[in-house]
C-alpha cells in the first residue's frame, strides 16, 4: 500500500488560514489502511482544525467525507456538487488524490492533510516498512524476493557496500543489510548462481527519472 502520515496540524492550519468553510476529505484506500486518512483520521483532523480555529477566535466550519478512492475520477465525482459549499478541500489521500483533484477540478483549492511517504507493508500493528520503490524494472526474481532498491540505503545492485557490519546496515544499524539477507536466502536455497551475473548500471528512466510515468492499456481504452 501507499503509506502516509498526518501532516503537522500547524501546516494544515497555515494552508487553510484564509478560509471559513473547509471540506476534510478522506480516502478509504491505502491511507485508510495505514491509519492516516480514513474516516477516523478525517474526524480527528476536522476536530483539531475546528478547535484550533475556535481558540484563535476565527471559527471554522468543516465538512467531513470519505470517498472509496481519490485516485479514480469516478469516485471524485461528488466533489463537483460539494465544491460550491466549501472554500477549500483538505485531502487526506496520498499525493495522487491531491493531484487528481487539482487536475480535474482547477477551481477547487486543495491542500494535503498527509505526507505521502512510501510503498510499504503493514509488518505489525502500528508499524509499516518500505518494501518497494516502484522503480519500474523489477529484479526480485533474481534476489530471492528481497528488493535492494527499496531496502538498501544506497540502492546497490551488486552486493553489499563495505560499510555493513554483522548483517546490519551502516546507515541505520537497526535495519538489516538486505544484501546480507539476499545472500543468506539464496545460499540456503542453493541458488547463489543467480548472483553470478553483474547487474549493469541501472536505467533509472522507468523509475521516474525520465519524467512522470504513465501506463496505457489499449485493450482497456474505449473511444468516447
Amino acid at each position: 500500500m501507499i503509506v502516509a502520515e498526518r501532516k503537522p496540524i500547524r501546516r494544515v492550519l497555515e494552508a487553510i488560514e484564509p478560509y471559513q468553510r473547509v471540506l476534510v476529505l478522506g480516502c478509504r484506500g491505502c491511507v485508510a489502511i495505514c491509519s492516516a486518512g480514513g474516516d477516523r483520521e478525517v474526524e480527528t483532523m476536522a476536530a483539531a482544525l475546528r478547535l484550533a480555529r475556535k481558540r484563535a477566535g476565527r471559527p471554522l466550519e468543516t465538512g467531513e467525507a470519505t470517498l472509496i478512492r481519490q485516485c479514480d475520477p469516478e469516485y471524485l465525482a461528488p466533489l463537483r456538487e460539494w465544491a460550491d459549499k466549501y472554500e477549500a478541500v483538505v485531502s487526506m489521500a496520498c499525493g495522487v488524490g491531491v493531484n487528481l483533484i487539482a487536475d480535474l477540478f482547477p477551481e477547487i483549492r486543495v491542500y494535503p492533510g498527509v505526507d505521502t511517504t512510501f510503498y510499504g507493508a503493514n509488518t505489525a500493528l502500528g508499524e509499516w516498512q518500505e518494501k518497494c520503490r516502484g522503480c519500474g524494472d523489477c529484479i526480485l526474481d533474481l534476489t530471492g524476493g528481497l528488493c535492494p532498491i527499496a531496502r538498501c540505503a544506497k540502492n546497490l545492485l551488486n552486493g553489499p557496500c563495505g560499510g555493513s557490519q554483522g548483517g546490519r546496515c551502516e546507515i541505520r544499524p537497526e535495519v538489516p543489510c538486505v544484501w546480507h539477507q539476499i545472500y543468506e536466502r539464496l545460499s540456503a536455497r542453493g541458488e547463489l548462481d543467480r548472483l553470478m551475473n553483474f547487474f549493469p548500471a541501472k536505467d533509472w528512466r522507468p523509475a521516474g527519472h525520465g519524467g512522470p510515468r504513465d501506463r496505457i492499456r489499449e485493450d482497456l481504452k474505449m473511444d468516447k
Binding site: 503537522p8 496540524i9 500547524r10 492550519l13 477516523r40 474526524e43 480527528t44 476536522a46 476536530a47 483539531a48 475546528r50 478547535l51 484550533a52 475556535k54 481558540r55
Partner: protein, 126 residues
C-alpha cells in the same frame, strides 16, 4: 469563573450519577461508551470544542477490561490527543487518562476532582 470539564468513560468503569457530580463546582460533560477502547481522539477533541477546559478519559484497570485491551487502547488515544493539543498550542496535560477499578465511585470521583483542578488552573491562565 465558570469551568467545564469532560469525562469520557467506559460504561463498565463507572456509573456515577448527577448526584455524584454535585460536589464539582462547574459543568461536567459526561459521555459513556460501551468500552473505553471505543473512545476516539476526535471524541476528546470534540469535548474541548464543546467548551471543556480539561478532559478525563477513564477506563477499567488493564487486567479487568471487558474487551481485554480496550482501556490500554484508550490510554494510547489520550497520548494521541495530547500530541494534537500540543501541536495547536494547548497544554497536553489538559487531557488525562485513569485506569480505575470497576464501578467504584470513590477513585473515579478523585480523578474527576483532579481533572477539575487542572481545568481551573488552565482557565485562570487563559
Amino acid at each position: 469563573m465558570a469551568v467545564t470539564i469532560g469525562v469520557l468513560c467506559c460504561h463498565y468503569t463507572n456509573q456515577a450519577g448527577e448526584e455524584d457530580f454535585q460536589g464539582i463546582p462547574g459543568t461536567v460533560i459526561v459521555r459513556r461508551y460501551p468500552c473505553s477502547g471505543h473512545i476516539e481522539v476526535a471524541d476528546i477533541l470534540r469535548t474541548f470544542e464543546e467548551g471543556a477546559e480539561a478532559v478525563l478519559v477513564a477506563g477499567c484497570e488493564a487486567e479487568s477490561c471487558h474487551n481485554l485491551s480496550g482501556s490500554q487502547r484508550a490510554e494510547k488515544k489520550v497520548q494521541g490527543a495530547r500530541k494534537i493539543l500540543e501541536e495547536i498550542g494547548l497544554e497536553p496535560e489538559r487531557v488525562r487518562f485513569a485506569f480505575l477499578p470497576r464501578l467504584d465511585t470513590g477513585p473515579f470521583m478523585e480523578e474527576v476532582k483532579k481533572t477539575f483542578e487542572i481545568a481551573l488552573t488552565m482557565k485562570s491562565k487563559s
